[in-house]
C-alpha cells in the first residue's frame, strides 16, 4: 500500500513514537537491541516519543507510532493514550505478539496484581476504533531486533514487497501454534524443514522424528505468530491467506 507522511519537520526526519500498553516492554527492548544498526537509522528517523528513551510528557505529532501490548478495556490511561495516538500519528504499527494477536495476554483473566485495574485485555488489532490506522503488524515475542531494523528500512524505503505480509496480518485476530497445524500441516504443505521450531520462542513446537512434522504443545504457546511467519510454506514472496 502507498501512503504519505504528512508531518515532516525541516530536517525531513521520520518521527517515531513507542507506546507501551499492557505488556512486558520486551518489544521496545528488542528495538534497543539493534544497537549496531541503530545509529545508521537515526540519521533519517527521530525517536520523538518513548516512555523509556525520552523525557517527553506530551505526545508530539508522529509519522509512525509503534504500539506494544494489549489494550485493557475500561482502563482510563489506555483509553486516553489510544485516543491521543490516533489523533497524532499518521500510521500505527502493532509490534509483537500481544499488540498483534493477544499473545500471552490471551491467557490473562484480569484483576490480578501487579495491575488489578486491568480487568480484560485485547490486542489493538481488535479495536474497531483503530481500523484503517493500524497499517502493519510485526509478529514475534519479542520480534528479532534485526527484523525490526529491516522493517524500519522497508518502511523508510516503502519496500512494498517486504511490508505486504505484515500488512495482511493486520486482519488477523488470533495466532498460535495451531496456525502451523491448520494452515500448513493440515493443508498438506508441511515438508518437515523445522523452521517453525527455530522461530518459536517458547519451545511450544517440537519436531517429531517419527512423522517428520512439528508437534504442538498448547500449554507453552504464547500466541506470538512467529511460527507461521517463519514457515517457508506460508508467504513468500507474496502474502498467503494464512491467518484466520
Amino acid at each position: 500500500m502507498i501512503y504519505s507522511f504528512d508531518n515532516f519537520d525541516k530536517e525531513i526526519k521520520v518521527k517515531l513514537g513507542f507506546f507501551h500498553l499492557s505488556s512486558c516492554s520486551g518489544c521496545q527492548i528488542a528495538f534497543l537491541d539493534m544497537f549496531e544498526e541503530l545509529p545508521d537509522i537515526l540519521d533519517t528517523v527521530e525517536i520523538a516519543y518513548s516512555n523509556m528513551l525520552t523525557n517527553r510528557k506530551e505526545i508530539p505529532k508522529l509519522n509512525v507510532a509503534f504500539i506494544e501490548g494489549t489494550f485493557s478495556i475500561g482502563f482510563k490511561h489506555h483509553i486516553k493514550l489510544i485516543k491521543e495516538i490516533k489523533e497524532k500519528a499518521d500510521i500505527i504499527v502493532a509490534i509483537g505478539g500481544c499488540a498483534a494477536f493477544g499473545g500471552i495476554r490471551r491467557l490473562n483473566v484480569g484483576a490480578q496484581s501487579p495491575q488489578p485495574s486491568h480487568q480484560a485485555s485485547i490486542p489493538i488489532t481488535e479495536l474497531d476504533y483503530l481500523k484503517g490506522k493500524i497499517k502493519y503488524v510485526i509478529p514475534g515475542c519479542p520480534p528479532n531486533p534485526y527484523f525490526l531494523y529491516k522493517f524500519l528500512l522497508a518502511l523508510l524505503e516503502l519496500n512494498e514487497e517486504f511490508l505486504r505480509p505484515f500488512e495482511h496480518m493486520v486482519f488477523s485476530t488470533f495466532a498460535s501454534g495451531y496456525d502451523i497445524l491448520m494452515e500448513v500441516v493440515n493443508k498438506g504443505l508441511c515438508t518437515g524443514c523445522g523452521t517453525c521450531i527455530c522461530a518459536c520462542p517458547t519451545k511450544a513446537l517440537e519436531f517429531s522424528k517419527r512423522t517428520q512434522r512439528p508437534t504442538f504443545n498448547k500449554l507453552l504457546c504464547v500466541g506470538c505468530g512467529s511460527c507461521l511467519a517463519g514457515c517457508p510454506q506460508s508467504f513468500k514472496p507474496y502474502p498467503q491467506p494464512v491467518y484466520g
Binding site: 509478529p139 514475534g140 528479532n144 531486533p145 534485526y146 527484523f147 525490526l148 531494523y149 529491516k150 522493517f151 517486504f162 505480509p165 494452515e183 500448513v184 493443508k187 498438506g188 504443505l189 508441511c190 515438508t191 518437515g192 524443514c193 523445522g194 523452521t195 521450531i197 527455530c198 522461530a199 517440537e206 519436531f207 522424528k209 517419527r210 512423522t211 517428520q212 512439528p214 512467529s226 511467519a229 517463519g230 514457515c231 517457508p232 510454506q233 506460508s234 508467504f235 513468500k236 514472496p237 507474496y238 502474502p239 498467503q240 491467506p241
Partner: protein
C-alpha cells in the same frame, strides 16, 4: 516451455561439474567429499545436515563441527528431518562464524526467508556462509519408504541410502538395490512436495544432485564462492557433459509436470498451495503462454 527454459527446471547456474569421491562410489560419499573440501578450504567452520541414525532407524538433523565429524555423517536424501530446528540449539551452545547448510530447497527456503525478513534468531540471519542445496524430487516419509519396499515384497526393509540413477529412484541396503519409477515414488510423496516448483534448490551457492552415473554425481555451481571448492579439490572432478545434466533435467521435468497438475487440482478445489495466490497464478499463466519471457526466475519464483 520446459523444452525452452532450463531455468525453469534447473535454475541459473554458472558451471556444472561431475564429482567422485575416492573409495566406495556413492552419492552420499560424494556429498561428504564436497563438505570436507569446504572445511579444508575454510569456507565453513560448521554445517547442518540430515543424517540417518541406523540404530534408531530415524533420520535426524545433525550439526557437524569439524572435518573429522564428516566421517560419521550419513546423509540421507529426500527426507528433511527438521534440520532447521537445530538452529536455536546451535545459537545457544556454540559460537560459529561461518556456518554451512546442506539441505533441500525447502530447508534453504526456510533459511532464506529468515534472512530476508529477519524472523528467528540473529544467528540465522548473519552466520550462514555456504548453502549446499540438494536437488530434490520430493521428500518422502520413513513410513512411505517402508511401504515402497513392501511393494517390492522385501521382508526386512532395512535401507541406508537413496539416490537417483537412470531416471529411477534407488533405495539401497547392505545387500540389495531396489529401483522405483517416478510414478511409484510419487504416490508416497509428501503432499507439500507435490506443489513444489523448486526441485533444483535455486536459493543456494551450489546444488548437489544425489545422482550416480559411473560413480559420479552432478553438481551445479551458482556462486563464485562455491567455485573455490573445485580449485585443486580432494576429489575427482570433471566438467559435466550435456547428457549428465539432461538426465536429471528429464526426471525433474517429469516431477514438475506432475506438480503443476497437483497445483491446478488444488486450485480447482479451492485448497491453497504454498506460495501460490491469485497474483502468482496470473503471472505464471502469462509466462506459461509467453515464449519470449526472459527472466522466469525473477518473475515467478
Amino acid at each position: 516451455m520446459f523444452g525452452l527454459y532450463r531455468q525453469f527446471t534447473l535454475g541459473r547456474y554458472t558451471k556444472a561439474f561431475i564429482i567422485k569421491a575416492s573409495g566406495e562410489a556413492s552419492s552420499k560419499n560424494n556429498l561428504k567429499a564436497l563438505i570436507k573440501e569446504a572445511f579444508r578450504k575454510d569456507l565453513i567452520d560448521g554445517i547442518i545436515g540430515t543424517s540417518l541414525n541406523k540404530k534408531e532407524g530415524f533420520v535426524s538433523p545433525v550439526f557437524i563441527k569439524c572435518e573429522k565429524e564428516v566421517e560419521k555423517f550419513e546423509p540421507f536424501f529426500f527426507i528433511h528431518g527438521g534440520q532447521n530446528s537445530l538452529l536455536k540449539k546451535i545459537t545457544q551452545k556454540y559460537s560459529f562464524e561461518k556456518l554451512g547448510v546442506a539441505g533441500h530447497s525447502c530447508v534453504l527456503d526456510g533459511i532464506n526467508k529468515m534472512q530476508y525478513f529477519g524472523i528467528g534468531s540473529n544467528f540465522t540471519v548473519t552466520k550462514f556462509t555456504l548453502k549446499i542445496g540438494i536437488a530434490c524430487i520430493g521428500a518422502i516419509s520413513l513410513e512411505g519408504i517402508k511401504c515402497l519396499l513392501k511393494e517390492k515384497k522385501v521382508k526386512n526393509p532395512g535401507f541406508n541410502e537413496i539416490f537417483l540413477e537412470n531416471n529411477k529412484i534407488i533405495l539401497k541396503n547392505k545387500y540389495e538395490k531396489f529401483d522405483f519409477s517416478a510414478k511409484e515414488y510419487y504416490y508416497y510423496l509428501n503432499e507439500g512436495c507435490k506443489v513444489c516448483m523448486n526441485l533444483s534448490s535455486r536459493g543456494s551457492d551450489i546444488t548437489f544432485v544425489p545422482s550416480l552415473r559411473n560413480g559420479y554425481s552432478l553438481v551445479l555451481v551458482r556462486s563464485a564462492k562455491a567455485l573455490k571448492l573445485f580449485e585443486n579439490p580432494g576429489f575427482s572432478v570433471k566438467k559435466a557433459e550435456k547428457s549428465d545434466i539432461e538426465e536429471f533435467e528429464s526426471l525433474a521435468k517429469n516431477f514438475l509436470k506432475k506438480n503443476i497438475e497437483t497445483i491446478l487440482e488444488r486450485a480447482e478445489f479451492g485448497i491453497p498451495s504454498n506460495k501460490w495466490d491469485g497474483n502468482r497464478f496470473g503471472r505464471f499463466t502469462a509466462l506459461w503462454n509467453n515464449i519470449y519471457a526472459e527472466n522466469i526466475e525473477e518473475e515467478v519464483f
